[in-house]
């Protein structure tokens, strides 16, 4: 049996735990504690990592890891990203500066993003239309990245699956011609 890994990252409250729960066959293992970060109203937050998984017909497993949201835990990001099939960056458009949030992850995972499939999921865009999708695309262009940018509601399984599918499509495109 082989095990593979997909990483979910993004700011606190972006919905990493919910996204993992949307596709995991088991309830996600969550390492939440009471939030004492006064900059965010969320009652509880992840300080270690979230974990879910699903099993393929072959018996292989795909493990879904969510990073802790706060950048002070960025030492864990490198560990978690190692050997991942791909990474999903979730943003929360209700936050004060979602593009600055995105920059944290584009910079923090810069080395990984040179080779690893990645997709951006924008949450709460309906209620918070600014920045727009185009603003995100422009931000990525400033980082010389062309990555899938999709509006998502992480409570919806189909939205999360769509993000995962873009990771698979990137893998397929990369293998073409082999």
């Amino acid at each position: 049996m082989n095990e593979y890994k997909i990483l979910f990252t993004g700011t606190m409250g972006a919905g990493k735990t919910t996204a993992i729960g949307s596709v995991s066959e088991t309830p996600p293992i969550v390492t939440d504690v009471v939030n004492n970060d006064s900059s965010h109203s969320k009652a509880r937050t992840t300080v270690g990592l979230d974990f879910g998984q699903f099993t393929l017909e072959s018996g292989d497993r795909v493990r879904l890891f969510g990073t802790p949201g706060q950048s002070r835990f960025d030492f864990l990001w490198k560990i978690l990203s190692k050997n991942a099939l791909g990474m999903i960056i979730l943003t929360d458009n209700s936050r004060p500066d979602p593009l600055a949030d995105l920059r944290v992850y584009l910079d923090g995972f810069a080395d990984d993003l040179d080779i690893m499939p990645c997709a951006i999921g924008i949450g709460r865009l309906g209620d918070h239309p600014s920045p727009t999708m185009d603003d995100y695309i422009e931000e990525l262009a400033r980082h010389d990245r062309v990555l899938p940018v999709l509006e998502v509601d992480v409570r919806k399984r189909d939205d999360v699956i769509m993000l995962i599918d873009t990771l698979l499509a990137q893998l397929e495109a990369g293998m073409f011609g082999e």
């Binding site: 699903f54 393929l56 080779i115 062309v146 899938p148 990369g174």
Partner: protein
């Protein structure tokens, strides 16, 4: 009588509604050839000339003619229109562009030896230079998948059809839309070389190609894709 297509790029919703309303009024005349569309291809495009993205060269490649909306007293340069939008001035510009476009078409139709643009049916490959706007993808999983593949490597229509398992016609149409809107770069005809990213997903390269394909199809099956 052929119809010409006007679109809007990043305009405030109120102005889009205003233009749509004006078009309904203009259409009462027999000679009005324009229709307002929400998706490419465009013959002409209305953009916000006061925003940085409205001034980019990519915007000029999205249509054969671009009209930029500027502030009141913002100047009367060619292909600009001061706000608020005045019906007579918009109509005047459309008539001028209509004349130019139809003249160009007539000249082009008389010149069979015109070089063809690098359309998607050719072996020329295309690579996404910028992720397409949501209005172009329309939430269509197939379009999203095709755009994703083109974001990763340069492909022609036949190759895109093979990888995405979509009909060649759909891939060709999608590539043409991307090309019309200036979202793809044209690349040479060199055979595809495996991209390092997919060769070695996450550095450790857990899978050889055949095995990786089996893994990908296994994940898709498990997720109901």
């Amino acid at each position: 009588m052929s119809t010409l297509r006007l679109g809007a790029y990043n305009l405030p919703a109120a102005e889009v509604v205003l233009v749509q309303t004006l078009f309904r009024l203009f259409a009462h005349g027999d000679a009005f050839r324009w229709t307002f569309v929400t998706a490419p291809p465009y013959d002409a495009l209305l953009v916000d000339g006061t925003r940085p993205e409205g001034m980019k060269a990519e915007v000029d490649r999205m249509a054969r003619a671009v009209l930029r909306l500027v502030r009141l007293n913002g100047g009367d340069a060619q292909n600009t229109l001061e706000r608020p939008i005045r019906a007579d001035r918009l109509q005047e510009w459309l008539k001028q562009i209509e004349h130019d476009l139809l003249t160009t078409l007539q000249v082009a139709s008389g010149q069979d030896d015109q070089p063809e643009p690098p359309v998607a049916s050719s072996p020329v490959r295309f690579k996404l230079r910028r992720w397409p706007p949501a209005t172009l993808l329309r939430g269509d999983p197939h379009r999203i998948r095709m755009a994703t593949m083109l974001s990763r490597r340069a492909l022609n229509a036949a190759e895109l059809a093979t990888i995405s398992q979509q009909p060649a016609e759909a891939c060709q149409a999608f590539l043409m839309t991307l090309q019309t809107t200036g979202l793809v770069d044209v690349r040479g005809e060199a055979p595809p070389r495996p991209a390092p990213s997919a060769d070695q997903p996450a550095k450790a390269a857990p899978a050889k190609p055949a095995f990786a394909r089996s893994l990908i199809s296994g994940i898709r099956k498990r997720l109901g894709l």
